[in-house]
């Protein structure tokens, strides 16, 4: 019988209302996903904070590494022409 130490960690995501995406709210341990869902309901939506819940095993998430964040995200840094504010528009021209 696996004890509590073996219960996987689940990350919990809540859609707070229709029209919004799910957002991460926290995590919890549970023996399986169904139980994680029930516990997440009790822990993270006691005051009607959500209309939909996702639980994802933390081990299933692949994340970018904080150590490589410069090399990983820097390529976007010098491409300011991707933003509308980069462009000069003559005065008086509207709807642009």
């Amino acid at each position: 019988m696996p004890d509590r130490r073996d219960w996987p960690l689940f990350e919990v995501f809540v859609r707070s209302r229709r029209g919004l995406s799910h957002a991460h709210v926290g995590s919890l341990h549970a023996p399986d996903a169904q139980m994680a869902l029930r516990n997440a309901r009790d822990v993270y939506t006691r005051r009607q904070e959500g209309v939909s819940l996702w639980v994802v095993e933390a081990a299933a998430i692949t994340a970018s590494s904080p150590e490589e964040k410069d090399a990983f995200f820097d390529p976007a840094g010098d491409k300011i022409y991707r933003h509308p504010t980069f462009y000069d528009i003559p005065e008086g021209v509207e709807h642009l």
Binding site: M1, P2, D3, R4, R5, W7, L9, V25, G26, S27, L28, H29, A30, P31, D32, Q34, M35, D42, V43, R46, R47, A63, S65, P66, E67
Partner: protein
């Protein structure tokens, strides 16, 4: 509820080490947030684990003094409110254990440390709840003091702790208001009810002031915590803020606070108050409070008594998995 992050005085005067960790200090000094897998000084990590764990332990031990009154609440309304509050405390404990786990510790390991006495919980829970008025007083004074302490933690430098505190603070304001309302009902009831309310306030006032910790000059972890952006205001500043906001509330209740030196100081723009007997606080922290042993025994028993539920959850999950496999084959 609240985790006081202080211990009895000891030799620990080290300043936060500033060598190395350039990224860390750049983030902290620009009032940014450190996130779980960021590089951080080891003593920052260890100190946060200790503080968040102690805070989490306080939340779940804090269920005991109030839980004792669920079966004796004077009406169905009060019973429902108290159950919701005690359930919130369990939830707060979980948010905080989850925040601590992002620092590379295991919740089971933290619970072991609580059960073996290696980690502490807030000493405020080592006082007994003798009458129904204690429940109102805890909500008003103890949760009130907790809110004053916790609101600045919503901006602390460690992201997961700050986010947990935002949730906790939102829920605490219900705790404080329900306490004030329960106490107001008593203080405007029969003379016996009012006397019961006054007695509870007399017993909880000084322990509530002690929740802010020792005076700044004697506070062991303060300097480092300030440099790290974990602590934002000193113990004495927060205590003064609490006194200033509580005195007018006591007047609205028609109850007195048990301090003959409590008076408005026009010059300072604050209330002056009497000397706090910190020897009592340190005795309670050391384990000599009225309920230390009872709280720990109850916590260990609750954990052991819950073994069957944890085992049943695992058995159910295994069965569901086998059943799922069979249906998938069929």
């Amino acid at each position: 509820m609240y985790g006081n992050d202080f211990t009895a005085p000891q030799a620990d005067g080290q300043d936060a080490v500033r060598e190395g960790h350039e990224d860390f200090w750049r983030v902290v000094e620009s009032d940014g947030r450190i996130e779980p897998r960021d590089e951080m000084p080891e003593d920052y990590r260890a100190s946060l684990v200790r503080q968040i764990a102690q805070h989490a332990h306080s939340e779940i031990i804090g269920m005991q003094p109030e839980g004792e009154w669920i079966s004796r609440a004077p009406s169905l309304r009060r019973k429902a409110i108290l159950m919701a509050k005690v359930q919130d405390e369990a939830g707060h404990g979980l948010y905080l254990y989850a925040a601590a786990e992002t620092l590379g510790v295991d919740r089971a390991e933290l619970l072991d440390k609580l059960h073996s006495g290696k980690q502490k919980y807030s000493s405020i829970f080592n006082y007994p709840t003798l009458t129904w008025a204690d429940i109102g007083t805890i909500g008003w004074l103890v949760d009130g003091a907790a809110i004053v302490n916790q609101v600045p933690l919503c901006r602390c430098s460690y992201g997961p702790y700050a986010r947990a505190m935002i949730r906790v603070c939102k829920e605490e304001s219900f705790h404080q208001r329900q306490g004030f309302e329960a106490l107001y009902t008593l203080s405007h009831g029969t003379p016996e009810q009012k006397a019961m309310a006054q007695d509870a306030v007399d017993r909880w006032w000084w322990p509530s002031l002690m929740m802010f910790g020792p005076h700044d000059a004697e506070s062991t972890h303060s300097e480092k915590s300030m440099a790290w952006g974990v602590k934002r205001f000193s113990n004495d500043e927060l205590r003064q803020r609490f006194v200033d906001m509580t005195v007018p509330q006591a007047e609205a209740l028609g109850l007195t606070l048990p301090d003959p030196d409590l008076r408005w100081n026009e010059e300072r723009g604050h209330y002056d108050f009497g000397e706090i007997d910190f020897t009592e606080l340190f005795e309670v922290i050391k384990g000599n409070g009225p309920c230390n042993q009872q709280r720990m025994a109850r916590r260990r028993a609750a954990h052991e008594d819950g073994t069957w539920a944890r085992e049943a959850a695992v058995a159910y999950a295994e069965k569901a998995q086998q059943h799922g496999r069979r249906t998938a084959v069929a």
